[in-house]
Symmetry: C2
Subunit: 452 residues, 2 copies
């Protein structure tokens, strides 16, 4: 098999310049002020796919952000691979914690810093360049290729779900290939065989019809923040478990085999504490960190606010307070069922004098694939050849809501072949992508496509 290393080495600077250009477009799907930026990122992607030699490049408008499609179907009798990724990114606040601005990509210490560097523009870019490399070198691809790239992954893929249903035939494939997950660590490749589901809700508490002076009213009226704090504190028990009735009903206990597989990840909890500068890890009693993150459901408060947040003191009794909550789901947990249970708990625990409103949001199911699937073995060999190590099969704590839908609607296995690192601050300030995995990722994808 041909060695593509010199090809990529020669073009490395040009490739990185190109990626930086894409990363400098603030395609934050969650914020309507960036709608135009998201569109620009889609157009940039369509151009890049054309330059790579892909055909039938289309930007499909949706009710939200567009879906970009492209294909190259000139390998008759060969399997078809559908490559999925997303060109939208997470919001960037708190902005003051970024060392360089999130949309001014900067390379330091062989790491590319920018929002979207690893999640997911950087990883998706590897596929475009791997295909461009094979096409321009060999004038043909070893498989048929389709790209389906969305701009709403960070906001739950609301329009991609019906798009897949409506374009089943167009998207038909023998496998779906996604790079939006992680290695275990530098030179420790991993193939993800399970993803947690995700559901979200927003809780608002209202007390009086206006903020009140804490001198005139303090001690005699409900305080929206006190009510919300009491409500939220009731969601977990003292053993770190979610205290919502029936929350664990559809979660099976871990078998000894599964515990053994998690142990193989070899996560050093002491080292993790040092890295994160934590005095203690925290979670459900009776599970290791790997088990908690890989196989247990969660309920997290992602944001909360109410009352006075400015400089100084304001002696006010706030009349409204808000919280954003997401749950990660596993096994047979159904997002709608969990949202209903959490909402029921919230209504039941609302303190006197408070009125609560709940808005349900995203709903993505958990996904798993059998680690013995032949395609995963091929992917494993590709990693081994480039990284010099066989990948571990892991279950990842993250959620890619669309994975379960692809698998179900297209009846195709989904290969989750990630090149990120767990330390790359995705969804947080100073997101980055280690360029060692940029280089190795390009080669691994070429290897995999050729072994397909």
């Amino acid at each position: 098999m041909m060695d593509y290393a010199p090809y990529f080495a020669e073009r490395r600077d040009a490739h990185l310049r190109e990626l930086k250009e894409w990363l400098s477009i603030p395609s934050i799907s969650a914020q309507s002020v960036h709608k135009e930026d998201v569109r620009r990122a889609a157009e940039w992607l369509a151009d890049a796919l054309k330059r790579a030699g892909l055909e039938n490049v289309e930007i499909h408008p949706t009710a939200g952000h567009p879906i970009v499609y492209a294909d190259h179907l000139h390998a008759p009798g060969k399997p078809t691979v559908l490559i999925y990724g997303h060109y939208d990114v997470q919001p960037v606040d708190p902005l003051h914690l970024w060392q360089t601005p999130p949309f001014e990509p900067d390379i330091r210490d062989n790491k590319l810093y920018a929002r979207g560097a690893t999640d997911d523009k950087g990883q998706l870019f590897l596929h475009i360049k791997a295909i461009e490399a094979i096409l321009s070198t060999e004038q043909a691809l070893p498989v048929n290729v389709k790209f389906c790239v969305e701009g709403e992954e960070e906001i739950a893929s609301g329009n991609l779900h019906p798009f897949i249903e409506a374009h089943k035939d167009k998207l038909a494939a023998d496998a779906v290939l996604i790079s939006d997950t992680e290695l275990l660590g530098p030179d420790k490749p991993a193939i993800c065989t399970g993803l947690r589901g995700l559901c979200s809700l927003e809780v608002s508490v209202r007390t009086a019809n206006t903020d009140l002076h804490s001198g005139t009213y303090g001690g005699g009226v409900p305080n929206a923040l006190h009510a919300l704090v009491s409500l939220l504190d009731s969601l977990h028990d003292k053993r770190g478990r979610v205290a919502v009735d029936g929350f664990y009903d559809d979660v099976s206990e871990l078998t000894d085999e599964m515990r053994a597989e998690f142990a193989k990840k070899g996560i050093d909890e002491e080292k993790l504490k040092r890295t994160l500068e934590l005095d203690a890890l925290y979670g459900e009693e009776g599970y290791t960190f790997a088990e908690r993150v890989g196989a247990r459901p969660t309920l997290e408060i992602n944001g909360m606010y109410g009352g006075f947040q400015g400089e100084g003191t304001k002696t006010v009794i706030p009349c409204e307070a808000h919280a954003k909550i997401t749950c990660r789901l596993v096994d047979h947990q159904d997002p709608q069922d969990i949202l209903d249970k959490v909402e029921r708990h919230i209504r039941k625990h609302t303190p006197p004098g408070a009125k609560v409103s709940v808005v349900q949001g995203e709903k993505g199911r958990p996904y798993t694939i059998d680690p013995s699937h032949p395609l995963l073995r091929q992917a494993g060999s590709a990693y081994e050849r480039v990284y010099g190590a066989r990948p571990v099969f892991t279950r990842d704590g993250g959620s890619i809501p669309i994975v379960e839908a692809f698998a179900r609607v297209l009846s195709a296995p989904v290969v989750l072949m990630g090149f990120g690192l767990p330390t790359e601050n995705l969804h947080a300030p100073n997101e980055h992508f280690h360029l060692d995995n940029f280089d190795k990722g390009l080669l691994t994808i070429v290897e995999f496509l050729k072994r397909f």
Copy 2:
């Protein structure tokens, strides 16, 4: 005694125009961006005092915002009254809840809407115009008058305390007169004989050294918001009491006499609930609303924030979270002692994996005056003459931290003669001043000065 009603009626429009000019200066003492505005408000006040006929008008710079002094000492053998007030105002957010902008004064329904309309520019303005009226009509005042007006009342009067100590002789007076409190209701005058003390602190929780992705880490690491929520929820028990060890040590139980006096306020709790659109009032078990607010200490969360607050969902585990807390104090509670006790509680209840920092802020002691003091009787007669009703002696839940200092350092009784209404949204959006009490306040002050 001469009737000043025609005098004030004739000048009403001009007086309101003048007051609106002052109210349009955003003198928010808590926000450093408004430092220059606070200075402009002080200069406006100095000019107004000069126009009123006061002498020795001085703007004293301090380490913070200036103190304005003026006097008129041409009544030999007569008592001296020191008039105190403040020209600074509270912050204005949440701005979107204001019906008209806080610094564009607007009269609707005989109410003057603006930040500071009732607290305290509007009320202080009454004294300036009352004195101007007597001076311009009778060319003499019945008493010697001094003004001492600060720009830091809303941020705990940090520089006025040492100023009073350093200028004891200059400020010497037989009584201190303050209009920064409330009537019981329209045509129900009240004289405040007790004020709660105030202390403040800010709590910050830190967990990991960066925000983390809730997929990769969720369920396995501490969440700063969970930790803060648990910490804050521990500050009250299920009976609405502050759960901090020793918090009530220096609070005496209410006597039957005191309960009877509170009952006289005649607060209709059902009506209060309707006015505030509350399903239920809330507070310490075993006390009425009036008792809770007038004679019981509190701990209130005034603001809280952490994590993602924007539009949409962000699956982040926040690494920091913040809360602002104030306590209202009564009886012999010492602000420093209470802050230390609350801080000790917070440190003791910090959940695993969280690091807490506490910054102590304001410290003001509670104040009381004997309701049978002769000056309070005179003030009562002045109200009765204008309002047609004898005032009730009340203990107010609010705090004017400097009152206790004036009384102690100058050895003078402090007469708290307020013209605000409990419904005027002070410290909240849509603060206003009912102009009926603007008109009656002017006459009441003239009456009181003449009876002194």
